[in-house]
């Protein structure tokens, strides 16, 4: 699909960057003139993916999180969130609602469930010891 516009950011996996990253992506998405609820869905999905990188991929270490956001032909907003963290051994299990490897940290195990339901498409690619790439797409309504 033809790329109409693109932006990239990369930042260290510190929790203070959760709010920065979702706001940065949302600011870019504004170019598509989304409705408030669509923008809120994007903001929430990004926050979930970035929090996963911080809590799970890098854990006690700090690594780089890379986000690419694109506006694609057909009013589609595309987001790719990439880390070089520990990777997910069993993606299917990780995608199950309420499954978490960090219950003591009060993780609800709903991150992927939120991404899946707030966006139209979700793809998770991961390799243990190499990292994880999450891509999401959402069609923004024309008005």
């Amino acid at each position: 699909m033809k790329i109409i516009n693109e932006m990239k950011i990369s930042f260290p996996s510190r929790s203070v960057n959760e709010s920065f990253s979702r706001s940065a992506v949302a600011s870019f998405a504004v170019l598509l003139d989304p409705r408030m609820d669509e923008l809120s869905d994007i903001r929430t999905a990004v926050s979930e993916a970035v929090t996963n990188c911080i809590v799970h991929a890098y854990g006690d270490t700090v690594g780089t999180i890379e986000i690419t956001a694109r506006i694609l032909e057909g009013n589609i907003f595309y987001i790719r969130i990439k880390d070089k963290g520990c990777g997910i051994p069993d993606i299917e299990k990780a995608l199950e609602p309420m499954f978490t490897t960090a219950p003591e940290d009060e993780r609800a195990g709903l991150g992927f469930a939120v991404m899946e339901s707030f966006m139209d498409k979700l793809t998770v690619k991961s390799k243990v010891g190499v990292g994880t790439t999450v891509t999401m797409q959402k069609k923004i309504s024309r008005r």
Partner: protein
């Protein structure tokens, strides 16, 4: 992110304002749990009317307080959750174990 706490004889009312995510939940959790342990209220009311953003970390935050309150036979109620936040609350199924009060702006939607 801020938390304003009010108490009467039986209830503890915590009005949360700002963005509730993994980063902000940690400090709020510590502050609120200290009050719960000291005051041992019957009910914890979480007023979300001024919460501008919440992701699933907020669900973990509510569930954690629910467990703590339950240990002493108390309950949790979420009140005034704005519409966007309500969507996250619904996915979690939290409304089946916790009373989710009437939404702000519900009449306009």
């Amino acid at each position: 992110m801020a938390i304003e706490i009010n108490t009467n004889e039986e209830n503890l009312l915590a009005k949360i304002s700002g963005e509730l995510d993994h980063h902000t939940a940690a400090t709020m959790r510590a502050e609120l749990d200290e009050k719960i342990k000291n005051l041992n209220p019957n009910k914890l009311l979480l007023d979300f009317s001024d919460v501008s953003f919440m992701d699933s970390s907020g669900i973990g935050f509510i569930m954690g307080r629910y467990k703590l309150m339950k240990e002493n036979g108390g309950g949790v109620e979420v009140i005034n959750a704005p519409r966007g936040i309500n969507k996250v609350l619904k996915i979690s199924g939290l409304d089946k174990i916790i009373t989710i009060g009437r939404c702000k702006n519900e009449d306009n939607q």
